[in-house]
Amino acid sequence: MKRIRQMIRPGGGLRLLGAVTGIFLVAVGIAYALPIYDLTSDDAKPQVLSNQARAGRDIYEAEGCVYCHTQQVRPVSNDLGLGPITKADARTGQNPSLLGMSRLGPDLSCVADRDAELSEEYLQNPRSVRPSSRMPSFGHLSSREASNLIEYLKTLSCGGGE
C-alpha cells in the first residue's frame, strides 16, 4: 500500500507512467494497429505452398537470405525490370513477411520468371557459375535442402518469363 501511495502522490511517477504509456498506445494505434487492420480486413486467400516449397521457405528464413534479398518491387526507376509493383494486399501467407529492408543482392519477387539458371550448382558454389558473384556459398545445404529451397524460389513468380 505504501508503494502505491508513493506512486499516486502528485509527481509520484504514475503521471509519467500514464503519459508515456498513453502516448505510446496512441502511436501503436496509428502506426501499428490501424494499418494492420487496413491491410487484413479483406478476404483475400493466401497463396498455398507445397510441402517441399514450404520446407524451402523455412530454409530461406533460417539461412538469413533476407539480409541481402528483398521481395518487393517499388514504383521507382531503380526497380524497372524487376517485375510488377508489390501491392499492399499481396497474399503469400508469409510470417515473417520476407519483404526485406535492404538489398545487397537482387530482388527476388519474380526470380522464377527471370532466371533460368536457378540451380543447385549455383547455390552450392555461386562463383563456379558466375565468377563475379559475391553471394556466399551454401555448400553446407544437403542436396534435399537445396532442392527444397529452389522449389520455394520457383514459387516466386509473377506470371511472366524470359
Binding site: 511517477g13 502516448i23 505510446f24 494499418p35 539461412e63 499481396a90 559475391r134
Partner: protein
C-alpha cells in the same frame, strides 16, 4: 543517504556488456570481410547473413541493452535521491538477457535465423527478455515514486519512457500473428522502437545526467530538454514506416512516418544544443575529461544517424537510395552514437562504482579515437558504396539494361572493391578500439589506484 553498495545491479551489467560489444564488433569485422572475399571462412556457422545477425544481436540485445540497464541503475538513484528499487530484480534481468543472447547467437550460428533483419531472436527468447525489461520498468517507476527530490529531472523522464516503450515495442514486433505486409509493418515498428525508444532514450537520459557533471556546469536548458522529451515521445514511434517509402505499406502510413521523421529533428536539435551549450566555453575541459569527449562524439554520430534517417524518408531521396545499404549504415550510425554515449557513461561511472581509477588517460584517448576513426571509415565507405551502387543500378535501369541476376548488386560500380576494403579497415579499427576498452576496464579493476567509492546525497554525488 545512499551508500555505494546500492549499485549492485549497475556493477553486474558492466563487464558482460563490454564482452558483448567486443563479440559484436568481431562479428561485424568478419561480415565486412565476407563482402570483400565471399569464400573466406566458408563454414555453415559463419555465412554472411549469420555473421551480420550475430553482430546485430550482440550489439543490440547484448551491449546496448545491458549498458543501458547499467545507465538506468546508476543514474536513477542519484537524480531521485532514493535508493534504487528492485536491485535483485535488475541482476536477475541481466542474467536472463545474457542467457537469451547467448542462446540466440548459438541458434543463429546453427540455422536459427528468424528472417527478421535487426530483430533476430526467436519468440521464445524475446518473451523472457520482454519479461526481464518489465521487471526493470517496475523498478524504475517504484524508484521514481519514492524520490525525495522535488522536481523530476528530465533524465528520469527518458528512463521512465524507455522502460515502457522498450519492452512493448519489442513485443509488438515479435509476439504477433500477422503475415505478409502487416507483419512487415509490425517489424518496422519494432525495429524503430528498439533503436529510438529504447537505446536512444536511455542514451539521452544518461547524456543529460553526465554532461553537466563532467563539464562542471548546469544543464543549459531544462525546458529545452523537456520539450525534446515530449517531441521524442510523440514522433519516434510513428517514424518506423519511413524505412519503406514506396513499399507496399499503406500510403497514408508512409506520409505520417515522413512527417514524424521530420519532427524528430526537434529532439535532435534539443539534445545537440543542450550538449554543446552546457559545455559552453569550457572546451579545454575536454583535454582532461575523457567521458565528456565520448559524449560529444556520440552526440555528433547519433545526430548524423537520425539526420540520415530524416533524409532517406524524403520521397525524392528514397526514390534514389531506398532499400539500399544507406538504410543499414543509418541504423549502424544510431547504434554507434548510442554506443559512444554508453562508453562515456562507463568511463564516468566505473571509478565511482568500483572505487578504482582508470590507468592512464592516454589509453582512454586511444580507445575513443580508434573507435571513432573506425566508425567514420566503416560508415563512410558503406554510404559511398551504396550511393555508387544505386547510381549504377539507376543507370542500367534507365538505359534498359538492368543489372542481371546473379552478378549481384555488390561490385556493380568499379570502385566498389576499394570501398569494401576500406570498410573492412574501419571494422578492424572498431574491434581494436573495443579490445583497448576491455583491457582498460580490466586494468582499472585489477591495478587501478584506489579512489573513494561514490556516496550519494540526494542529487549531489560526492567522490
Amino acid at each position: 543517504m545512499l551508500s555505494g553498495s546500492s549499485d549492485r545491479a549497475a556493477r553486474s551489467f558492466l563487464f558482460p556488456s563490454i564482452v558483448w560489444l567486443l563479440l559484436g564488433s568481431t562479428a561485424l569485422l568478419f561480415a565486412e570481410a565476407k563482402l570483400v572475399s565471399p569464400g573466406l571462412l566458408d563454414v555453415k556457422a559463419f555465412t554472411y547473413p549469420r555473421l551480420a545477425a550475430i553482430a546485430s544481436v550482440s550489439f543490440q540485445f547484448g551491449w546496448l541493452t545491458l549498458a543501458g540497464l547499467a545507465a538506468i541503475y546508476y543514474v536513477l538513484p542519484r537524480i531521485t535521491g532514493a535508493p534504487m528499487r528492485g536491485e535483485t530484480a535488475g541482476v536477475a534481468a541481466g542474467i536472463i538477457i545474457n542467457i537469451c543472447v547467448l542462446l540466440g547467437i548459438t541458434l543463429i550460428m546453427f540455422g536459427g535465423s528468424q528472417g527478421l533483419q535487426w530483430a533476430e531472436l526467436p519468440t521464445y527468447l524475446i518473451a523472457p527478455i520482454v519479461f526481464a525489461l518489465l521487471l526493470v520498468a517496475s523498478a524504475v517507476f517504484r524508484t521514481i515514486g519514492a524520490r525525495t527530490e522535488g522536481d523530476l529531472y528530465v533524465s528520469a523522464r527518458f528512463f521512465g519512457g524507455a522502460a515502457i516503450w522498450g519492452p512493448l515495442g519489442l513485443a509488438a514486433g515479435h509476439l504477433n500473428p500477422f503475415r505478409d505486409v502487416p507483419d512487415s509493418v509490425a517489424h518496422l515498428f519494432s525495429v524503430n522502437s528498439t533503436l529510438l525508444l529504447w537505446f536512444s532514450a536511455i542514451g539521452v537520459g544518461a547524456l543529460l545526467y553526465v554532461v553537466p557533471r563532467a563539464a562542471g556546469s548546469p544543464l543549459y536548458s531544462n525546458r529545452l530538454a523537456n520539450i525534446g522529451f515530449w517531441m521524442f515521445a510523440i514522433a519516434a514511434p510513428l517514424a518506423g514506416a519511413s524505412r519503406q517509402i514506396f513499399g507496399p505499406s499503406p500510403a497514408w502510413l508512409q506520409t505520417i512516418s515522413v512527417a514524424a521523421s521530420i519532427a524528430l529533428l526537434a529532439p535532435v536539435v534539443a539534445v545537440v544544443v543542450n550538449t554543446f551549450a552546457t559545455v559552453g566555453d569550457g572546451w579545454r575541459k575536454l583535454d582532461d575529461n575523457p567521458s565528456l569527449r565520448f559524449f560529444i562524439a556520440g552526440t555528433v554520430v547519433w545526430a548524423l544517424g537520425v539526420g540520415v534517417g530524416v533524409l532517406q524518408s524524403m520521397r525524392s531521396v528514397a526514390r534514389a537510395v531506398g532499400l539500399s545499404e544507406v538504410s543499414t549504415m543509418q541504423i549502424w550510425l544510431i547504434i554507434f552514437g548510442v554506443s559512444l554515449w554508453f562508453m562515456g557513461l562507463i568511463v564516468f561511472c566505473l571509478p565511482r562504482l568500483l572505487g578504482k581509477r582508470w590507468v592512464g588517460s592516454d589509453r582512454l584517448t586511444a580507445h575513443l579515437w580508434t573507435t571513432l576513426t573506425g566508425i567514420a571509415v566503416l560508415v563512410g565507405s558503406g554510404l559511398a558504396s551504396a550511393l555508387a551502387t544505386q547510381s549504377a543500378i539507376h543507370g542500367g535501369a534507365v538505359a534498359g539494361t538492368p543489372i542481371s541476376f546473379g552478378d549481384g548488386f555488390l561490385g556493380a560500380s568499379s570502385g566498389d572493391r576499394m570501398l569494401r576494403l576500406s570498410g573492412l579497415a574501419g571494422a578492424l579499427l572498431i574491434v581494436v578500439g573495443q579490445w583497448i576498452f576491455l583491457r582498460n576496464t580490466m586494468r582499472a579493476t585489477t591495478s587501478g589506484e584506489p579512489r573513494p567509492v561514490e556516496v550519494v546525497l540526494g542529487d549531489e554525488a560526492v567522490a
